[in-house]
Symmetry: C2
Subunit: 200 residues, 2 copies
Amino acid sequence: MADPIEFYFDFSSPYGYLAAQRIDALAEGHGRAVAWKPFLLGAVFKTTGMRPLLEIPLKGDYLKIDLPRSARRLGIPFTLPQPFPFLSVAACRAFYWLTDRDADKARALAKALYAASFAEGRDISGAEAVLRVAAGIGVEREALAAALQDPAVKERLRGEVQAAIAKGVFGSPYVIVDGAPFWGHDRLDEVALWLERGGW
Amino acid sequence: MADPIEFYFDFSSPYGYLAAQRIDALAEGHGRAVAWKPFLLGAVFKTTGMRPLLEIPLKGDYLKIDLPRSARRLGIPFTLPQPFPFLSVAACRAFYWLTDRDADKARALAKALYAASFAEGRDISGAEAVLRVAAGIGVEREALAAALQDPAVKERLRGEVQAAIAKGVFGSPYVIVDGAPFWGHDRLDEVALWLERGGW
């Protein structure tokens, strides 16, 4: 089987959320697996000098129109949580700790965290909120609470963020298929075409 | 007939060039006209604090992959001219001077300027280059040369740029359909759907 499709996203990225609703089915339709790779856009912004989308004059106003409109077109529930943007460090640490133990459950956690924030509009920035969502899918609370404070888990996340930057990831979502990069939820149809044709 | 679709673009925007190859046919397919509205991204960047795409670390590298790949998928010839980005003030002034006299010819000039820069890779930043392209479609050289220096034409362009910013235009291409804004050449399929459904 070919290598998994790499799916980079930030838990606080609304377009990452939209892509997350579609990426597994898209890949499966072409006989491919997906490696889910959350990272921290804030760390990447330090490299690129970019800023959170909604803070950019004019562009921020546009996105408040484009986001719900994109979600409606795709039939995906969407709420912009408050506060926004929010810190997703705890969510990321939880994901990487869990994926080293049970990759399927880690993916379920990622989906549950995205649903909590962008479907239900809940604040998932704190450790307590992440623990609650994780408990909802059967993750043992005490073990995860300890992991969120574990220097090894923190280091694991730092390494993933550095690896993402080294691969050129500058935005969320960002998909890499057999070395070919695609940025944005609006490139997913092109990703499907790329898989179908094997490039062009 | 409904209002024309507003098509905002910078002559130095490669994604604007890609959209320019498709916008007229797309609108015509839905019985709509297109108002072509070149503007100066540099002036908008002063409002938004954004920067030319290729100058952004990581994102610039990605765009050098995405641009020719997008063009190949659409079957559109593409060359990134040198220097890039370039000043498009002369091109814009020529367009607005001409459109007040002959709107069809102004659109033909816009297409010829885009073809010279992004299909043939020529430098169209200077007045001399713009005069040469314009002469190629039958625009009288002396009259246009005088217009490029005319304070009234300069003021006409300034007014158009301010009007674009007032409408929220922050990038190129940017399409407004009956008040609904769409940013990016990758939103053209969505524009077509919007026209078909009358929104959603």
